[in-house]
Amino acid sequence: MDLAYTEEERAFRVRLRDWLASVLPTLPARPDPRDWPARRAYDTAWQRMLHDAGYADVHWDAAPTIRLIFLEETERAGAPYVGANFVGLLHAGPTIAVEGTPAQRQRWLPPVLRGDEVWCQGFSEPDAGSDLASLRTRAVRDGDDYVVTGAKIWTSHAEVADWCELLVRTDPDAPRHRGLTWLAMPMDAPGVTVRPLRTLAGTAEFAEVFLDEVRVPAGNRVGAENDGWRVTMVTLSFERGTAFVGEVVACRRVLGALARAARANGRWDDAVLRRRLGRLNADFAALWRLIQWNVSEAGAAPAGRGASAAPGKGGGVPGTGGSVFKLRYSHARQELYDAAAEVLGAGALDAGHEWVADRLSSLSYTIAAGTSQIQQNIVAERILGLPKGR
């Protein structure tokens, strides 16, 4: 146990902080959230700036603590989020880095790092959510291509992505997990239709992607045919790991803002609210420590090399530490915005308030990327070793 930063880590933080201070004022205004091309342009321009300053591969090749410092500092400085680069940098990229051929890595990784290409994710289907392995999108080999037909859902940035990391069924007769294959699908291929999906927050952060006999070259397959489940798990275990670092920093910032707002509007005198905020302070501080722990346990292996597939402290299972984190975090985030509603009072009925919009989107946290029910199964079965079934 040594929570002090090394000389090198401190130097990295100072250098990064200086750079952020110099470049952030030069950024253009944030785009309208409903304007997808503008969002893509903004996000990829930022990635290009990171690239040119030598920070592009911080998620892939840096030591875990360095990544943590990067995420902490960019969030604190109010730098842009990873945004449209999310899947490329944090899902598809790491998968290709671990499972791809040298040629595939050469083809797909540099454009992600430079912000030249944007990826989206095609895993979930309308009838395959918690039970991802039951997905039915079919890919049939035809010459040098796979011909893909089906429908994907919950795809972010589909409107502006160049590539889709797609999980398809190539052997319908094999056991559920055995007949799947991972493909990189060009989003401009004929037969791909994107339909925006409106969330309860009124925005369209997700899309459905319909695939009608889309031809994907067999060379776009990463990993072996029918080995897609294992290939995908590399990505998913990553998703359940440290993807929330920036958010936890942001939540702690919001929590401080809630306290100040409550003091300003007099609700600080409500002991029930005040003590809720105090408890959330402890929760988020501990969640931050848990992230540090998980990251620190990932050891020196960089993420792009499968960092979060390193043994979790529960005993050697990839990504389970992430399940413990996500269970508590998703709940704490919802409690944070419930507390925000208490601070706002009748103002919580005003959908125009940022905290109200965030309260609405917080409702997805116990569902997306594995419902809390599924996460509890994972913790119970894979960490605690309770029997499967029922």
């Binding site: 979930s124 309308p126 009838d127 395959a128 959510g129 918690s130 039970d131 039951s134 859902i153 919950w154 999906l197 409106r198 969330t199 309860l200 009124g202 409500d270 029930v272 509603a341 009072g345 009748a346 103002g347 919580a348 009925l349 005003d350 959908a351 125009g352 109200v356 609405l360 409702l363 997805s364 116990t366 569902i367 997306a368 419902t371 809390s372 029910q373 509890q376 029922r390």
Partner: protein, 325 residues
């Protein structure tokens, strides 16, 4: 002493459900989400069916029923998510001309609230403000408890993007008061508004249990309906418990009309509606998070109702004080 509905009460409940199913089914609900202006034709139909005149004496052209019957009707309203200044019109029938028949509409604002909110500001022909009559029994400083009327166009408002797409809201910044209205007692108006709001919450809470259960029976994952998994089963069971506890409290308060009974009933009904909507969303998974699913409409309306006519903090304090009483 008994809780069972009489045959007449049962008929009233079933009739209301049938009317609302027919005239405000899912298509109309979703149309109202896109265009929340009040459906005046439906309003007149409700008026003609005696919906607003329910508690007016028969000699005044009303139906002559009581608060328990109004609660049954409002439970159905809550199930159906029917929008409009319903509580206001129910309570102001006989006070404001034309409201009983559904020909005109009236809004009702809580003048003692921290923010004076006005539901459906574009659709109210008159606006009534209740000052005082709450626990502290006094109005805002310098104002007498009472019930005041104003023409909507004389009321100053700040606009507000309502979180509930079915209920447009404005925030009243200035309300020119005339002489207080004779007749309605502020305490009683407030109590009845709370109870009818609670009844809607119960209806919503019951509806979200049913919706969650229907989805859990239908949706298959891991080769079985998700309702066969204990995690989902137990979510649904607790939803029912919340709804039934709240319903017991609301029905009893409708009979006793006791201030503490109403306060407790509203507290439990608010909790049941909000938490059931959230659990319903959880049971629905990703689909529950979409605009197209109705779950969010229940949740948002439940939030709104919970903020009206007595919030949880006030209720808990009043109920605590009652223990020493």
């Amino acid at each position: 002493m008994h809780f069972q509905l009489t045959d007449e009460q049962r008929a009233l409940r079933d009739g209301t459900r049938k009317l609302l199913d027919g005239r405000f089914g899912r298509d109309r609900l979703r149309a109202a989400v896109d265009e929340p202006a009040l459906d005046r034709a439906l309003w007149r139909e409700l008026g003609a069916a005696g919906f607003f005149a329910l508690r007016l004496p028969e000699e005044a052209g009303g139906v002559g029923l009581g608060l328990p019957e109004a609660v049954l009707v409002f439970e159905e309203v809550g199930r159906a998510l029917l929008p409009g200044p319903l509580v206001a019109c129910e309570l102001l029938a006989g006070v404001v001309d034309g409201v009983a028949a559904g020909e005109r509409t009236a809004g009702l604002c809580d003048g003692s609230a921290e923010a004076v909110l006005w539901e459906h500001p574009a659709d109210c022909d008159e606006l009534i403000l209740v000052e005082g009559g709450g626990r502290d029994a006094a109005g805002a400083p310098g104002r007498a408890a009472g019930v005041y009327r104003s023409a909507p166009d004389r009321v100053a408002c700040a606009p507000l993007t309502s979180v509930d797409p079915l209920t447009p809201l404005a925030r009243v910044t200035d309300f020119p008061r005339g002489a207080p209205l004779a007749g309605p007692d502020p305490s009683r108006l407030r109590r009845e508004a709370a109870l009818l709001t609670a009844a809607q919450q119960v209806g919503s809470a019951v509806r979200t249990v049913e919706t969650a259960v229907a989805h859990a029976r239908e949706r298959t994952q891991f080769g079985a309906p998700i309702g066969s998994f204990q995690a989902v089963k137990h979510l649904c069971a607790q939803m029912l418990v919340r709804a039934e506890i709240a319903r017991s409290a609301v029905y009893a308060a409708a009979v006793t009309e006791g201030a503490m009974d109403v306060t407790g009933a509203k507290l439990l009904a608010d909790e049941a509606a909000v938490r059931n909507a959230r659990d319903c969303l959880q049971v629905h998974g990703g689909m529950g998070f979409t605009w197209e699913a109705d779950v969010h409409l229940h949740l948002k309306r439940a939030w709104l109702r919970a903020a009206c006519w007595g919030v949880a903090a006030e209720a808990e304090e009043a109920l605590a004080a009652d223990l020493l009483g």
